[in-house]
Symmetry: C2
Subunit: 377 residues, 2 copies
């Protein structure tokens, strides 16, 4: 893996970079669509290519349970299994073990848990999380970490962060021993909302010298202010010449704030999940396609948008599909929301390269909050 | 509308034709994917174009209830509403009024019924069915008919068929008065399993001189033998130079039998519905993608198939998507099954043009029943 920092915006800390991975180049800032189970929900690999997705996520927990590493290995890895030839980043599975698995028991050695699919018992260690990700063959693997919930007591956050640091060391060793030179490994900073814990986590993680770093423990119920505070506490200690990934973030406005603070990579299920619930991003804010008024609106969802959906279909048709419970509604909505996020990251990149990110952000947010239709979600 | 009979196979009654409609040409025999609510379930209009769909179905009952004719008219018709520029045929809504509506009461004037969506009361007459289809703007409209269930007593079948004949006259008059020259109107032959009723229905319908004729009252629970008998009783009385449409048929083997007996047009929800249930057509018979053995089969669904799914994905991946309840499973399965039907009709056409339909049919069916996996449906 190679990361080239191309530009830092003179008006703020926003960065533009170029990440070279086994399956291709990724221009940053980048939004990564989430393909939990080897498919980004409601769209195809061809759709993703057509809207310019550079890299997608896969989830080690889900893929380990189904189809399982044996099938993934027999297929020649996830890329071949799902016929996706661009880069893939895999979540280590840690987050899902703690949030999805029926029961889990954490020891310093690892985590015992039961599958949310069939209740079967499993034991995941840092080493095994790496092995799974090697079977998957992702371009970027993530360290196995414990992600604390919010709020969490200081002592618990400290203990968890220190265990994550030890696990990071074990992950790195396993990665080096398996000599997976084709796959990069990112370390994850934890420490919840506590300044000194974040600082300690940054120091301990950076000391291990990973190809890239993620800020974890956000998007778990904290406020936007707390999330941005966590970012601000981490970025100063992260090496300039390595990519920075903010896990699980987020809505367009959060993306801009984090980019301004020097983050390069993002993932979030929100654009795809919201799409399936009828909440759509536009340049003037969210549109709730369930609202009556869209039934007779024969204009596009977003006149400013260049996506295949806005180029072809009307709000009235999208409204009809959604009301009728048609599968195509999920697909078109998802395609549009993903385009919106991918395009937003690309436009940010351009603004950074031209040293006008702060102004762009102001203009964007002004328009974005001009006609927002909250969905109550 | 123009219909040119290009060839009749020397080995049987199979026909190849060319139908010229407002929105383009349709080469027959043709399979028409069903787009009940202004979308063919699980695929997009772009998908349909890419797999060579020449004409799709819309349903007047569903579209009348939702989005409603006002919205369709404001959109400029269904073609513009759904962004589909190739031909559309609309079912008159008769079949759905009898099968779907919460309650219905038939009088010679028309049918009172309650919407299956919101229980609202409606009254549909032959004239109104035409008006709705004019609002939709389909290339081919169907007469409003009563489709008897199976089995049905002779007296009931006779009474129903005669009412359908009177309704056909009213439909034709309404069509002429609204001078919908851009839209063709097909008459529908009824008469259930009764030879003399079928004959009488053919005579009365043909006497009205429609641009095309449909054989209705099939695919309602009768045996394959009874269905083909109905076809055989109708085709001799139908004019050679007009297209013949067998409504609601059917699986690949039925398509071949009906083509052999001189039918030109087909529609059926089965390929799309089966796809969503994991039952997939292949040259060697149906594949039940839920079967264990497909989990580790890294070959294509059908090595003989040229569809985008078979060209890209493995059975193992399709199996994984289906087991994981992913939306992409519905789409890929549907795309494949539709391709199979469209391709089958196209290959039949070629065989007819080369006077070798009977031999093709034999070869196809031999292979098709060689490894069939019944799904219990």
């Amino acid at each position: 893996m190679k990361f080239e920092l191309e530009a830092v915006d003179a008006s703020c800390g926003a960065r533009a970079g170029r990440l070279t991975l086994s399956h291709g180049e990724v221009l940053t800032p980048v939004f990564m669509p989430v393909g939990t189970q080897g498919t980004v929900k409601a769209v195809s690999q061809g759709d993703l290519r057509s809207i310019g997705a550079q890299i997608i996520l896969g989830n080690a927990y889900h893929l380990y349970l189904r189809p399982g590493t044996e099938i993934l290995e027999a297929a020649g890895g996830l890329h071949k299994f799902m016929a996706w030839d661009r880069p893939i980043l895999t979540d280590s599975g840690g987050f899902q073990v703690f949030s999805l698995a029926a029961m889990n028991k954490v020891t310093p050695e690892g985590v015992a848990f039961q599958s949310h699919i069939d209740g079967s018992s499993h034991f995941l260690t840092p080493e095994k999380a790496i092995d799974i990700q090697i079977s998957i063959g992702s371009d970027i693997m993530m360290c196995f970490d414990e992600c604390t919930s919010h709020p969490v007591a200081y002592e618990d956050a400290a203990k968890s962060m220190r265990m994550t640091a030890v696990w990071a060391e074990r992950c790195k060793r396993q990665w080096e021993e398996r000599s997976a030179t084709q796959q990069a490994l990112f370390g994850i900073v934890q420490g919840s909302t506590y300044e000194d814990l974040r600082r300690e986590s940054v120091e301990r993680t950076v000391a291990l010298d990973f190809p890239g770093y993620a800020i974890g423990g956000v998007s778990v119920g904290e406020s936007k202010a707390e999330m941005l505070e966590a970012v601000e506490r981490c970025t100063p200690g992260l090496p300039e010449n390595k990519p920075r990934y903010l896990m699980g973030v987020g809505p367009p406005e959060d993306l801009l704030e984090a980019i301004e603070r020097g983050v390069d990579m993002f993932d979030c299920v929100m654009p795809t999940r919201n799409a399936r619930n009828g909440s759509l991003f536009t340049s003037e804010g969210r549109v709730n396609i369930k609202n009556q008024k869209h039934k007779t609106d024969f204009g596009p969802l977003d006149a400013q948008c260049g996506c295949p959906v806005c180029n072809t279909y009307s709000r009235a048709y999208l409204s009809h599909l959604f009301r009728s419970g048609e599968i195509l509604a999920l697909r078109l909505n998802t395609l549009h929301n993903l385009w919106f996020m991918l395009d937003l990251a690309a436009v940010c990149r351009q603004a950074i390269l031209e040293d006008r990110f702060a102004a762009f952000k102001r203009t964007f947010l002004e328009a974005y909050f001009s006609a927002d239709e909250p969905t109550g979600e």
